[in-house]
Symmetry: C2
Subunit: 431 residues, 2 copies
């Protein structure tokens, strides 16, 4: 097959590509495949790596905290001291800023927004629900579940373009500093979902320096992939709390993390970190909501990992499993798409996703084509507020769950589909 | 000491009682005691009874659901089928009405109210927060944490008197059927907190027959002590869902339960049960809040108990531990207070509390006196909305946590304090 940019191809060349790729896709279609590239979830092999944790707490003797507290009983609202210390070491956040909250950081974020809606924030004047329609800034493409929270709560979403070093901070400042109905922003600051971008020091400092128009603005700093490097080289994210201290803006930050992609999704630990002033406002509300979270599971994590280095070592083993998967996708895309100038994609150094951009107006078509031969892709648009990708171009690739051999097949089919969609688009120019 | 009703005693007799009881209390004071009767929590021996559950899930092979689902991974919003079946058997509620929600039924109830506030209910017109000040009916004395939820959310609480067969249903009907701002009622229908009363069949049927003025009224049916009999004799609570079917009122009911006092508080399972129409409204909001709850812990409970009979057998063992504690308190109160006509108390057949009524205007004084010698009682008034016991008479006794010997001491001191407070009160009549 001829290799040159599609926009330089003649009608005949495009028709030849189209016919060739359609034939290939038809051949895949005959294999009755059922393949899935949508799920940002760990593979069984990854989970097996944590399975020794299951037996770590096996009798009563394992259930006592260093303070003598019986983890099997009521007591302690926001986390065992040793669990706070573990995350403090891991994330470089003082222990007294950390709360251990349940099994899901998504739930912790939802609860945090709901508290803002019903009770407002420390230093704010009124609950958000009393302030008419409010808005959130949404770096895009981004995490669909963040956007779903806004949609469900009828919070207007303003898309903010992602740049290679983080959200477009000019746009963030424009909106946040001028419009008091803008109450927050969603950030996945390290190995962002789905771009895999880590915010530059400059961007993090700009977040720390931000003086929003709304006194009750909050940065939802979802550090979901804090230790999720794929390679030995550590990718450093600047310390937003440390920088915020300089600007006196610590209260602006709600920080979240979890072990969902360290140990077990759904059976891990979620944390929230915030300033003393924020926690003083949150804790009484939290104590109305619950007597406490699952301390036995907190102890299970503490005993299994011992300390932050235990988690880091564990993450290196996980990286060893994930790296070949990411590389298989990237290599296959590279091998089959280089030279045609019809797609680009990220080569993340960590996290859970590869972000693929196909020709404008082609993402939905690629999704349909792949589906027609049994390959499930994340629906085009899912990574944008209201599911609307203005360019109809982005596709989120989640390579962690399938096996490497499956990923090879899926990626090849994906390249097929991308070429078909692009050829169809360019051929229209000749009509 | 002379034994006759205090209101028949002469001034001199009362003075003698007072001097005698003060001397006894002083003697206790010299022992530097630290005793606690406040905590409605299991003792360590109770927790030990469940400790074999800790090791039930010890490797990957234990983590697969009957559907083949890997409990260690994402998937399933509202509970494993086998966990739903376990509670369905135990509570006599169809599986498809049951959701397994996290580690705390208090949290499940808080979340349910918050959903009503922000999203309203199935068949309702508007979210509660858009309807001005709303009200809840609060059978009293009742569970302080229910009341705290209302207080925190600024929901006005209307006290409803408890009768020996449940809440005063005339009062419930008066308020609920005439005032559309009355949106709900808190019920602990079996072994109520703190009275230990189980609602009669008539009362349950009246709840089922209730046609509230508000289309978005909900009965919060907190069946916290569903299988928590202290004696062999089963105390039967009528099936509210079954009765509601007859009246077409199933949508009025939000049903809650948990294993907090079956296995481990904070590391157990919470459930919510509701009609299909309610669940259809709730599930999309829930799926915004979380991807799912801790399925490994669900599996741990399923594997440990096997079926509902496993739980019932376990509860019989727990009852064997709790019965002597309740009886020690009751016997001591009986021995030291009979004949004086200055106190009455419940003799519950199950649950976690004894409800003690001292002379009107004396509960706070009893609390203070006990505190002065190192005995912590639940603060007087705690079992009433806004902490206001209009009679200043009720004291909640939680006998589960202390040892039997401690309970003997505490109960004796309590009787001392009750006599002192009553003698002081009656002596005022002679001034």
């Amino acid at each position: 097959m001829i290799v040159k940019p599609f926009n330089e191809m003649t009608k005949e060349e495009l028709e030849e590509v189209l016919a060739d790729q359609r034939a290939k896709l038809d051949a895949w279609g005959e294999q009755n495949l059922t393949l899935n590239l949508t799920r940002g979830k760990p593979s069984q092999a990854q989970l097996d790596l944590s399975s020794d944790m299951l037996g770590v707490i096996s009798d009563r003797g394992d259930c006592f905290s260093e303070t003598g507290l019986d983890c099997r009983n009521y007591g302690i609202l926001d986390g065992l001291p040793e669990a706070k210390r573990l995350f403090s070491e891991l994330l470089g956040i003082p222990e007294d800023m950390i709360m251990i909250l349940g099994n899901s950081s998504l739930n912790a974020m939802y609860d945090a927004i709901v508290r803002c809606m019903l009770f407002g924030v420390a230093g704010g004047r009124e609950p958000w629900f009393r302030q008419g329609r409010i808005k959130f800034l949404c770096p895009t493409p981004g995490y669909d579940r963040h956007f779903t929270i806004c949609k469900t709560l009828d919070i207007e979403m303003i898309p903010i373009r992602m740049t290679p070093e983080g959200p477009d901070m000019d746009a963030v400042y424009d909106h946040a500093c001028s419009d008091p109905s803008v109450k927050g922003i969603w950030c996945v600051p390290k190995f962002s979902n789905p771009e895999g971008i880590t915010y530059s020091d400059r961007v993090v400092e700009q977040f720390a320096a931000l003086k929003p128009a709304a006194p009750d603005f909050r940065i939802f700093w979802d550090n979901a992939y804090s230790v999720h490097e794929l390679y030995d080289e550590e990718v450093r994210l600047a310390d937003i709390f440390e920088l915020a201290k300089k600007y006196g803006t610590e209260d602006n930050i709600f920080y979240f993390a979890s072990t969902s992609k360290i140990t077990f999704p759904g059976s891990g630990l979620a944390i929230m970190a915030a300033s003393e002033r924020n926690l003083d406002q949150i804790r009484p509300i939290l104590s109305t909501q619950t007597i406490g979270y699952d301390k036995i599971n907190q102890m299970r994590h503490v005993k299994y990992f011992g300390n932050a280095d235990g988690i880091r070592k564990h993450m290196k083993s996980l990286a060893g499993m994930l790296r070949p998967k990411f590389e298989m996708v990237e290599d296959t895309l590279d091998r089959h798409l280089s030279g045609y100038d019809i797609a680009r994609w990220t080569n993340p150094k960590g996290g859970y996703f590869i972000s693929l951009y196909v020709e404008k107006g082609c993402a939905r078509r690629v999704y349909q084509l792949a589906r027609s031969v049994g390959v499930a892709l994340t629906p085009a648009g899912a990574t944008y507020p209201y599911g609307r990708d203005p360019d109809d171009s982005n596709i989120r690739i989640a390579p962690t769950f399938p096996e490497v051999a499956e990923l090879k097949t899926i990626s090849k089919i994906l390249c097929n589909c991308i070429k078909i969609a692009a050829a169809e688009k360019y051929l229209k120019n000749f009509n």
